[in-house]
Symmetry: C2
Subunit: 357 residues, 2 copies
């Protein structure tokens, strides 16, 4: 070890899903939208004068914050924007989770939560999901330094009903409760209306899934003015200018085209429900996903084997080699054609496998 | 105080320069370039297919990292990129400054250093600049948990000679030394060659000044492979996808046009040297700025008064109401026409003031 290395922060980094770039691939591994962003997004970027880029962007991101506030019928002072919901969540951990009591989150959940806890030195306890992979709200009523969970949960896709979310928030007036709604637009009910009633509730959403803009890195949080004020102060202590000019322009354009947004969500939901039936017929089982992915296990064929077989065909899905979920695949809902290719291959593979048994 | 507020991180945020947007303004307050980005930048953005944005960007930023590595003749493994040099510096503080000994930096310097130290709970000591506002390398030879300084220093613009930088790095094998070279392209000598000799030296630069892209938020660090590996691990523990797709495309295009880059730097240096003479003739004094700004004080007229008078004319410069520098103005070097407007107004204002004495 070098002398200076004794002062290096010890971390266990998050491992993002792989980002292959093959011309013929079917990419169903990182929950991106199969549809392009709203047409206005490209127009807004093309209209940007080249000279604009020489100037700093607005550090308050007023245009984008205003667009989101108008869209969700909240005040500008209730909206925080960041470089993807990961930036927003990381900033929320840093801002709100500074207790000696543990932060609580599920054992099977977004795998960045424990990474943030470790990098910022936050104590945490992971609460096991029930056997059916659902969250038990009772687990979140013990002493804690904060609570965070995705709704729908990832990678299960299962939604906690709004009453259960409210129960958790109501039971924890001494903690900030973060509800990570990255996948809420695919049929779930957002906790957003509750921010008017509970000043300790932070709702986090993203442009990466339902708004087809993973490449632009835009996430946002909504909560009480007090919560947002604290987050802005911490953000202004880390990086004043997080959102670049193209992000601000593209973000506003995306929010403005509500019809396009709803249409994309509707198409993905329709495809998902159809594919659920087909996968069931093929011998898969899964919780009732309300997200843009399916988390499936097969009665006969190990998930890892299917993962490798799909990969060979350049169909990329996500496999987590972790306790309790190592026999599951997380499959993003793509276009109808992509899902037909997937189910077509699975049918062929599984029946071929049966014959050789 | 709300119950949950007891766990909120206490911070004193950085206050960025104001970002007025007036049609007739002359903006010399935040050290942006007066020239647009390289023509290839706009072309690269226009050529980006709209559909690209639905996919996550490459988390390793390989295209941009490779372009920078080629340009600076270092290995890819020696380059780290982030959302402006603020993101890079913040990440470096979090990664390398984890000692109970204080981090050292000048008392008059980039005012984000103490903000990062506070937000991350890092002890620090500020070393007073000499009377002539230069850094004394001897101050950086006592026990410490890390060292950081800009070169040229901000807001003084004064360059520490390469031998003095090397002296500091050599004297501190147990600490990471960060040299923040945001303004190095305007006539200074970079410490970059020293990274091959000292594995504890991190050199940080930015696209916001000399590459005319403050609006795009791109900064980078270069150092030993060990240093960069640690930074990447911490970055992957905070946000995997920091650089959006437009940033990666635009960044590569900017690096590719070296002739344009050199031409812009040359024009700014030429204007700066001319304006130095004119300001001297008007009764201003200042250190020998090697940056794209001048840090000036006037023999008769208080800086604050000039700041307000310029502001009235929509000429924005930066004034810091802080001990030792509260009679200085920091003036960004703009176009020749902008600087003529500035000096013309100052001449008029100062002579009018003399008459009324």
């Amino acid at each position: 070890m070098k002398l200076w290395e004794k002062n290096v922060r010890q971390v266990t980094p998050y491992v993002p899903g792989e980002q292959p770039r093959l011309p013929d691939m079917i990419k169903l591994n990182t929950n991106e939208s199969p549809y392009p962003p709203a047409p206005g997004v490209k127009k807004a970027l093309d209209a940007m004068a080249g000279d604009t880029l020489r100037l700093y962007p607005d550090p308050a991101c007023d245009s984008l914050v205003t667009a989101l506030a108008d869209y969700y019928h909240v005040k500008k002072e209730q909206v925080f924007v960041g470089v993807g919901s990961d930036d927003v969540l990381s900033m929320a951990f840093l801002t709100f989770f500074n207790s000696s009591r543990p932060v609580l989150f599920p054992d099977i959940t977004y795998s960045f939560y424990d990474v943030w806890a470790k990098v910022y030195g936050i104590p945490y306890v992971q609460k096991p999901l029930r056997e059916d992979l659902t969250i038990d709200p009772e687990d979140y009523k013990e002493e804690n330094g904060g609570i965070v969970f995705p709704n729908p949960n990832a990678p299960t896709g299962i939604l906690l009903p709004p009453e259960a979310v409210e129960d958790i928030v109501r039971s924890n007036p001494g903690s900030v409760v973060i509800v990570d709604e990255a996948y809420i637009d695919f049929g779930g009910t957002s906790a957003l209306p509750l921010i008017e009633k509970y000043d300790n509730l932070l709702v986090v959403q993203t442009f990466s899934k339902s708004r087809s803009m993973a490449g632009m890195r835009i996430g946002y949080a909504m909560g009480s003015e007090a919560l947002i004020r604290h987050m802005v102060s911490v953000k202004e202590s880390v990086n004043s200018y997080t959102m670049n000019t193209p992000s601000l322009l593209a973000g506003v354009a995306a929010v403005e085209d509500d019809a396009y947004f709803r249409d994309c969500c509707h198409k993905i939901i329709t495809t998902r429900e159809r594919v659920k039936k087909e996968l069931k017929a093929l011998g898969f089982s899964f919780g009732d996903s309300m997200s843009n992915f399916l988390f499936v296990t097969h009665k006969d064929c190990p998930a890892r084997e299917l993962f490798e077989a799909l990969r060979q065909k350049h169909i990329f899905v996500r496999y987590f080699d972790r306790p309790r979920i190592d026999d599951y695949l997380r499959i993003t809902v793509g276009t109808d054609a992509e899902m037909d290719a997937l189910t077509g291959f699975l049918q062929e593979y599984l029946s071929g496998r049966k014959e050789t048994d």
